[in-house]
Symmetry: C2
């Protein structure tokens, strides 16, 4: 039997709020067993870009990443946010290690080809090298990935944190029994986006198609759920979406996805 591994993606809104961040990290540190954390951190990067008088350009919620923006993102994600999370987790007796995809070439990407939109230095993941990551995990360490990868030719690339979490989950599912959690500020996938009590508890593929058709699942939730089903189709055991409280064993108010 494969050992269990929990992979948790934490959303930017929670990291932007220092109280919510501390609560989340306390919950994360308390999880028994093997675990791995993935984070982005959109708002801080936007704030620093503005302070440095750089234009912030978004298309469909995705950041256009020119060379200067990539520098800001690298500083904020891999520097400020990642290092502070690792230090806070250490204080909570969680033996964390900060990572980017460049470390040990653990996540290799290619620069997204230019089509209608030129996203700039944005990476599409090609390959996860799970050897390094499992070395850390098997030594009792907790990897904390920021949303930076590279092309293995010296170019860093801004990469969607949801996609990183799903790609790590798929790759590590060969070695571990992986549950993937997407933690964000909402209680889960909602029937009515204005009603936090309208969580859809279970979504299978048929239900998902219906939700897309009816428009209940749209915008940013679409690629998130696509990532989830992709993970489930690649040996990941379980995918959950909701607030950090779902990480405790007592909560059942979140969305679980199944094939």
């Amino acid at each position: 039997m494969k050992p269990s591994l929990k992979i948790i993606k934490i959303g930017g809104h929670i990291l932007d709020d220092s109280k919510a961040k501390k609560e989340f990290l306390t919950q994360f540190a308390a999880i028994d067993g093997l675990k791995l954390l993935v984070h982005g951190g959109g708002k801080s990067a936007t704030a620093l870009s503005k302070k440095m008088q750089l234009d912030v350009q978004m298309v469909d919620g995705r950041r256009i990443t020119d060379a200067q923006t990539l520098e800001v993102i690298t500083m904020v994600y891999a520097g400020k946010i990642n290092t502070s999370i690792v230090s806070m987790l250490q204080a909570l007796s969680c033996n964390a290690v900060g990572c980017t995809g460049a470390d040990a070439n653990s996540i290799q990407s290619i620069k997204r080809p230019v089509s209608d939109v030129d996203y700039g230095f944005v990476g599409d993941i090609q390959k996860v090298n799970s050897e390094y990551i499992s070395l850390l995990i098997n030594a009792g360490l907790t990897p904390v990935f920021s949303a930076i990868t590279h092309n293995n030719k010296g170019q860093l690339l801004n990469t969607n944190a949801d996609t990183i979490a799903a790609s790590l989950a798929k790759s590590l599912a060969e070695i571990f029994d992986v549950t993937l959690y997407f933690c964000f500020e909402k209680t889960g996938v909602l029937e009515d986006k204005y009603d936090e009590t309208s969580v859809i508890k279970i979504i299978d593929k048929a239900k998902y198609k219906g939700l897309v058709k009816s428009g209940i699942v749209s915008d940013g939730m679409l690629p998130k759920l696509q990532n989830c089903f992709d993970a489930l189709e690649n040996q990941v055991s379980k995918v959950c979406i909701g607030q950090p409280s779902m990480l405790s064993d007592h909560s059942n108010n979140y969305t679980t996805l199944t094939l």
Copy 2:
């Protein structure tokens, strides 16, 4: 017999010059055997501080580190510089991993006590946990440390890169046969600081005392050499000071320190 390990500290001036940086990393990547890199990156942090309209205060060449300055330093050292070095080394087939002292609590410090000067969030190293570092090295990986440590209570601390290199060398000397290299823009310790050909080839403790007395060793070179002798007195086999060319086996134009 202990396996050989080369610990290399690279100075900020070399990293500030993109051509010199690339040359250094090419030389570093070509070193056979086990190795570890330590870097700071002073000028970039000053440039970003100015861009963000923060005051830059230095006392005796050391940076006063208030909360905002610490954030800048963390972003520049652990984010921008470290991540880019790791990615460039990967492109040169050197299997690098970026580290701060917070990772696996590898370098634990205390905030420097306030005396005549309040340096702010500056760390004095208390303890190196060599277990994590040797896990990486023994797996064929090359740790790349930026000059950030923490107090294991959630506080990151700006820490002198020379001291980090010397502390890592002393701690790892229990497991490895360590040679410590301080690479900077000068050819070594100079008899006449305006004459790059006046390198003092060998300095022992008696000679060092004479150089301090005569004022030939002063300012920033004083703590650097003190760190070197401290390392030699703690099982480190050899300490060398000079330009990156000393890393190749053919050069002999640098300073070697002995007890």
